[in-house]
């Protein structure tokens, strides 16, 4: 409760701040670039009245006005979001987007009430250039690739054909309504209706993301709705621009329509190619970031944003470009870049997309309070009804077709959720503002706002209980166990083989082919030499080992829970463990150093001895677990060069000592060898060069043995 009070206090404080600071003469759009940075405008400055003397205290608001307001808005948005999560039972019932819109409505109402003029609205440019990319980038980076490609046909089917169906349906039937209500709506032409249809029919990825993510439905359903909302951007963009240009043309011919159709393909594929290009470029760049790791995350964002801007410049689909870019570069970047950089990338993505989304919803609320509304009962109600009807029929029809071709039929429940989850959001809103002015434009704006509010509030709030009511299959929460992963892989190979026998070029065939291509060319080119290997089995294994080391029981991988708190932090007792470990290690170190030199036994001259102790402490700092102890024992125990087993070990250690950051690879290796180590020291003893060395190592090895056994008992 106290938290709630403090938060609401803070909220109202920033609200007042927004109010007061906005200058009364036509508030600027909050995302204007700062007007003039260099000059000193002292117009609005107050000052203590000391005639002809130095001003001791002065305030110059105009100087910092634009950034200040931006920050205030972001602060307001974030505080609202915080308050939402602290407000007890509200998150269970009301999705976040609804609350944010309500806060926006409140703020807008207050601003309107105080200043009697329209509050700042979301300019379409600001939305498309600054607010939308982070969200789509985040979506693209964390896109479950395998699931997406498995369902790609269905997704494309829904996105392209479904959107077309909706657009034409809504447009034409709205025109019918306009014809019927000649008196009030007579001047809305067919093209206008079609234009309106094109912008209102599209499912919005932002709204879908925010609502579905709280719902945790099964992944297939999620990817269907979400994939559709991403890919229908191409169709929407083209249709919107098409109808807009038709409006400007004196007449429309059949050829224009045909060209429009070609444009859809061009826009879609163009976006894809731009995205691919920048994605591969980013992957290549990340290969060389080993010496300047701090800026490695920056490249991810820069290249993605570049791809978005480039495709917007070429009038391609920006959303498709950025999604493709992110999805392409992900596996290579993750392999190339250190673990900390990976974490920073993920956290920044989440943070930015979260801020963007919050801002969008708040501005949706604020912009609703305007005095440019025009209401017309028939138009608004019929739009609402038609949206629902056409989406439902569209989904039903399309699914009936597509189920014949799918292995895994989309059930009726899923279909219902797909149809019901077709939320409209801020994209429609921005698009409607971009229409050229014509008498009924305000009506369109009002209707769009009503539809958006309806879908977000009514559909958004009721979809969660409906999901539970209808027993829609929910998401699996656990990380796959290693056996699951291994067996799944085996079955994949099996089915690929069978498909070969049968001569059927199914999904597995193409997937196999792509994987081979990937392995042979792409990975070798785009990934650093020392990071090449990683099959999915290995990755799952490493992930599991990593989790065990941290000793944290997690029930879902972080990807599943994007916006809530991240992983629980490492506990403070790690500090004491670290101290104990380092003390123990000091003892080991001191014993080993005079006894032998690695160089005399190992042919591996690339190992730098001086680096070794440094690396040990470093890795201790990064990986606090008993495994590091066993690791060191291992490398001391595993001396003999001729044994092939050992070279595998030393290779990985060499790699790790040269690139001290890659502790990930190292400690997971160590986890493996730890268990087989108990047998190794014995074998190692035979291959030693001198009896003295043998003796010390024997002693050490025995110690290792006991230690290892101890640890294994603990395990």
């Amino acid at each position: 409760m106290a938290a709630l009070w403090t938060l609401s206090l803070l909220l109202s404080a920033s609200l007042l701040g927004c109010l007061a600071m906005t200058s009364p003469d036509g508030s600027p759009l909050p995302h204007n670039l700062p007007p003039s940075l260099g000059t000193n405008i002292s117009d609005g400055s107050l000052s203590v009245d000391l005639p002809m003397a130095l001003r001791v205290f002065s305030m110059d608001y105009h100087h910092i006005q634009a950034p200040f307001e931006i920050v205030l808005w972001i602060m307001l948005a974030s505080l609202a979001k915080l308050g939402f999560h602290w407000s007890g039972r509200v998150p269970a019932v009301v999705p976040e987007s609804c609350v944010l819109i309500m806060v926006g409505l409140l703020v807008g109402g207050v601003i309107y009430g105080v200043r009697h003029s329209a509050p700042p609205t979301l300019s379409a440019d600001a939305f498309f250039l600054f607010l939308l990319p982070p969200i789509v980038l985040d979506a693209g980076y964390f896109l479950p690739g395998r699931l997406f490609f498995e369902n790609l046909g269905t997704i494309l089917w829904y996105a392209v054909l479904g959107t077309l169906w909706n657009v034409l349906g809504i447009g034409l039937s709205l025109y019918g309504v306009c014809l019927l209500a000649q008196s009030s709506l007579g001047d809305v032409s067919l093209l206008h209706c079609l234009l309106f249809g094109s912008l209102i029919a599209a499912v919005d990825p932002v709204a879908v993301l925010s609502v579905f993510q709280e719902m945790q439905v099964n992944e297939q359903l999620h990817i269907l709705v979400f994939g559709e909302s991403l890919l229908n951007d191409a169709v929407t963009v083209v249709l919107y621009k098409l109808f807009e240009s038709f409006l400007r043309l004196p007449s429309v011919s059949g050829l224009d329509v045909l060209l429009g159709g070609c444009r859809v393909v061009v826009v879609g594929i163009g976006g894809l190619c731009v995205g691919l290009f920048f994605g591969l470029l980013a992957a290549l760049t990340s290969r060389f970031t080993s010496r300047a790791q701090v800026i490695a995350p920056l490249f991810v964002f820069l290249y993605s944003y570049l791809s978005y801007l480039t495709s917007e410049m070429l009038h391609f689909s920006g959303i498709m470009a950025i999604v493709t870019c992110a999805a392409t570069m992900k596996q290579y970047v993750e392999a190339n870049v250190s673990e900390r950089s990976n974490t920073s990338i993920q956290y920044f993505l989440k943070m930015w997309s979260s801020v963007s989304e919050t801002l969008i919803f708040i501005f949706l609320g604020v912009s609703t309070i305007q005095d440019i509304h025009m209401w017309s009962w028939p138009f608004v109600c019929s739009t609402l009804l038609l949206c629902l009807i056409w989406r439902a029929t569209g989904v039903l029809l399309l699914t009936a077709f597509v189920n014949k071709l799918r292995r895994n039929a989309v059930t009726f429940r899923d279909q219902f959720i797909i149809a019901y989850g077709g939320l409209r959001g801020a994209i429609c809103f921005s698009l409607v503002f971009l229409i050229d002015d014509f008498p009924k434009k305000r009506l369109f704006i009002t209707t769009t706002i009503v539809v958006i509010l309806f879908t977000v509030f009514v559909q958004g709030m009721t979809i969660k209980p409906l999901v539970e009511l209808l027993y829609v299959k929910r998401k699996k929460r656990a990380l796959p166990t290693l056996s699951e992963e291994i067996h799944s892989r085996l079955i994949d190979h099996l089915v690929a083989g069978i498909e070969d026998v049968v001569g059927y070029w199914g999904q597995h065939y193409w997937k196999d082919k792509f994987e081979q291509f990937n392995k042979k060319y792409l990975r070798r080119f785009l990934i650093r030499n020392d990071r090449q290997a990683s099959s999915s089995i290995l990755r799952v294994y490493q992930e599991l080992e990593r989790r065990e080391q941290r000793g944290v029981e997690e029930e879902a991988p972080p990807i599943v829970d994007p916006r809530s708190q991240g992983r629980p932090l490492l506990p403070e007792e790690m500090e004491s463990i670290r101290r104990i470990l380092s003390r123990n290690l000091q003892n080991f170190n001191n014993k080993q150093t005079p006894a032998y030199s690695r160089h005399t036994l190992h042919q591996d001259t690339s190992v730098d001895r001086t680096r070794k102790p440094l690396y040990r402490h470093q890795s201790l700092g990064e990986r606090y677990s008993y495994n590091t102890i066993t690791h060191f024992q291992g490398e001391d125990g595993g001396l003999s060069e001729p044994q092939r087993v050992r070279t595998g070990l030393s290779r990985s250690h060499t790699v790790c000592s040269i690139s001290p950051r890659s502790t990930l690879l190292d400690s997971s290796d160590s986890a493996g060898p730890a268990q087989t180590r108990s047998t190794d020291p014995k074998a190692a003893r035979e291959d030693l060069v001198s009896p003295k060395h043998k003796e010390t190592v024997e002693r050490a090895a025995r110690k290792h043995l006991s230690f290892v056994l101890e640890n294994e008992k603990q395990q």
């Binding site: 056996s483 026998v501 294994y541 986890a671």
Partner: protein, 164 residues
């Protein structure tokens, strides 16, 4: 289906031999291609006739799931179990009804190839057995195998759609 059989049967003997399978390039590149081949030749025979060919491929028919009730997935016990049995046989080359550590290692080696070191392979196999082995006999029996895959959607994974 018979057309397919005939197209595979190079020397028109009315049955398939190992060379026919090896002629399929993709299968050769498949890490477990050899095992798949052997699965077709049951009980030490040299050739596969049409009926056994069809029988094996029948494992990969998509199962017809009637869903009256969501939530509890009604699996037709025969088909899912049969599919799992087939997959199990790929591991269990000596047909003793259990996947020993060595057999698991062989499969892992084939699938992971040169990507991992020997110790990693050992530890992966160790861990996999630890996870699945409930009766602690250091091998995975068919029931344990089935249990470890209970969350995976085998029916859709192991279906080749044209075989409907």
């Amino acid at each position: 289906m018979f057309i397919l059989f005939e197209s595979l049967d190079r020397d028109n003997r009315g049955c398939l031999s190992p060379d026919d399978f090896e002629a399929l390039g993709g299968l050769a590149m498949n890490p477990i291609g050899g095992r798949i081949m052997e699965a077709f030749f049951s009980s030490g025979q040299d050739t596969v006739d049409f009926s056994s060919f069809v029988r094996i491929l029948a494992h990969f028919r998509p199962t017809d799931r009637n869903r009256n009730k969501e939530g509890a997935q009604q699996e037709l016990p025969s088909s899912r179990t049969r599919k799992l049995k087939f997959a199990f046989q790929l591991y269990d080359m000596d047909r003793d009804g259990k996947i020993s550590r060595e057999e698991l290692l062989q499969v892992l080696r084939a699938m992971l190839g040169l990507q991992v070191t020997e110790e990693q392979l050992q530890s992966i196999a160790e861990r996999a057995i630890q996870e699945a082995d409930l009766d602690k006999d250091d091998a995975i029996s068919f029931d344990e195998f089935k249990k470890s895959l209970e969350k995976t959607d085998i029916d859709t994974k192991m279906s080749v759609s044209f075989l409907k």
